[in-house]
Point group: C2
DNA sequence: AACGGCCAAAGGTATGACTTATGACACGAA
DNA sequence: TTCGTGTCATAAGTCATACCTTTGGCCGTT
């Protein structure tokens, strides 16, 4: 790799080069760290990055600053840029989550995210029952009905889309911005679960019922039932993961 | 402000100026955004930042790259650097959490974090019961006993320290790195709760018992009881927040 | 009123120079 | 031998400057 910077890469220091250059480097180094092929303790230098990717010091610095902000690396004078231990990473940064999902260690990331879902969604359901807006409540009920329709029709594709929308809407309407920030990750997990064929061919009636129960409980502001019903939905997931 | 860059600030472009300059700017702008005094949609320019803080373009760029990575801003040619809507922020970034806790909006951040605790800790307890190491289990039991001792002695200061250690150890030993990453935030919340005098003068016996129950259940690998007992601990918090 | 071209503003990138911190190593003293 | 101590080379931190590229807004034409 290295010199093969995608397009022609004339030596003409054109001052502006290929835009998104910065992103390319960030992506490459980030993936390398997230996948473990750049092990904790490994050292990089700005000089080295400039050579490796054919970039200027400016871009190399920008990239490292971002990685440093994610705690993937730290930099010290005279030493260079050092890869941090994974236990110090900002594991909630969407970029890092994406990189890890793209790596060999995908499975670990999925199970962490799934466990997080199991923890958060019931409390989010309770929050939604308490704080969702009127329109959010009715949308949720509508989605619950739609899920049953699609589930019984056996249209897995459309079911997945509606299921994602259901769970996202819940996180969006629960009034906690830290839960809301998990929207995309939940979508990712649900998508993957279907892709991996971990979903039953037809959603179980029990699951459909539980979704409707959540929606109804949220709609009437019943925090306890909303939470319990969501818990029920996730029990299925928990079983599948061997967490019971 | 501006020119008063802390020390002397001779005009001699000394190329190296006051180190941690970059951090100073990051902090200032970050706090301004987090507190809302730089409203979403506000626009900055690199030029402006250079003037405002007496820094070079390099430092201004570094700073903005970090803020951009946190999704606090985005930058567009010909427009400048624009403050993002809060709903797009990376609200799990420890820097942002810190800034928000230091702002007027402290209360919102605390309640989000508390709700997150309520969601995560029971599942973390179950995870610890399943996956903690032998030494972690015994440490947890020891901490449970210590909590009772300190609680009954009425030493709130020492109790807080042990309580933090208890909850952190649990998050650390539950085997989910996304839960572990919440260690510091939980410590922050617990500390604040005591500081604000929201703790009873003496911890209630029920709470002490629940901590011991969690420790014992984790020690013998009983996921169900560990989760339930932790849930019980947090019910107290939930009540205090009016979430029941 | 809609379309198209021009201009200036502001970020993106590249360079080169200088400052500062610091790991490593050599040297000398206890 | 071991433990400071001083020197030096390295690599990040910062600054200044220059040029390219994108793009929002203005203006004139159709």
């Amino acid at each position: 790799m290295s010199t093969a910077t995608a397009e022609g890469a004339d030596d003409t220091h054109d001052g502006g080069a290929s835009p998104a250059m910065h992103e390319r480097v960030l992506e490459a180094v980030g993936v390398a760290i997230a996948s473990g092929s750049l092990a904790p303790g490994s050292r990089l230098t700005l000089e080295g990055l400039q050579q490796e990717y054919g970039i200027s010091r400016t871009v190399a610095r920008d990239t490292m600053k971002v990685l440093e902000s994610m705690n993937l690396v730290y930099s010290r004078r005279r030493v260079g840029i050092v890869v941090q231990q994974p236990s110090l990473w900002n594991v909630y940064d969407p970029k890092l989550v994406r990189w890890r999902l793209a790596s060999e260690r995908r499975a670990e990331q999925y199970s962490s995210l799934t466990e997080l879902r199991i923890a958060v969604e019931p409390i989010a359901a309770a929050g939604a029952a308490r704080r969702a807006s009127a329109s959010e409540r009715s949308q949720l009920v509508a989605l619950g009905a739609e899920l049953r329709r699609l589930g019984e029709a056996g249209d897995l594709q459309a079911f997945l889309a509606a299921d994602i929308e259901f769970h996202q809407l819940l996180l969006r309407s629960c009034g906690n911005e830290m839960f809301r920030a998990l929207e995309d990750m939940v979508a990712e997990v649900l998508t993957s679960r279907t892709k991996q064929g971990l979903m039953p061919f037809k959603p179980r009636n029990e699951a459909l019922q539980a979704h409707e129960d959540v929606a109804a409980a949220v709609a009437r502001g019943d925090t306890v039932v909303a939470e319990r019903a969501m818990h029920h939905i996730l029990d299925e997931v928990r079983n599948a993961m061997g967490l019971y």
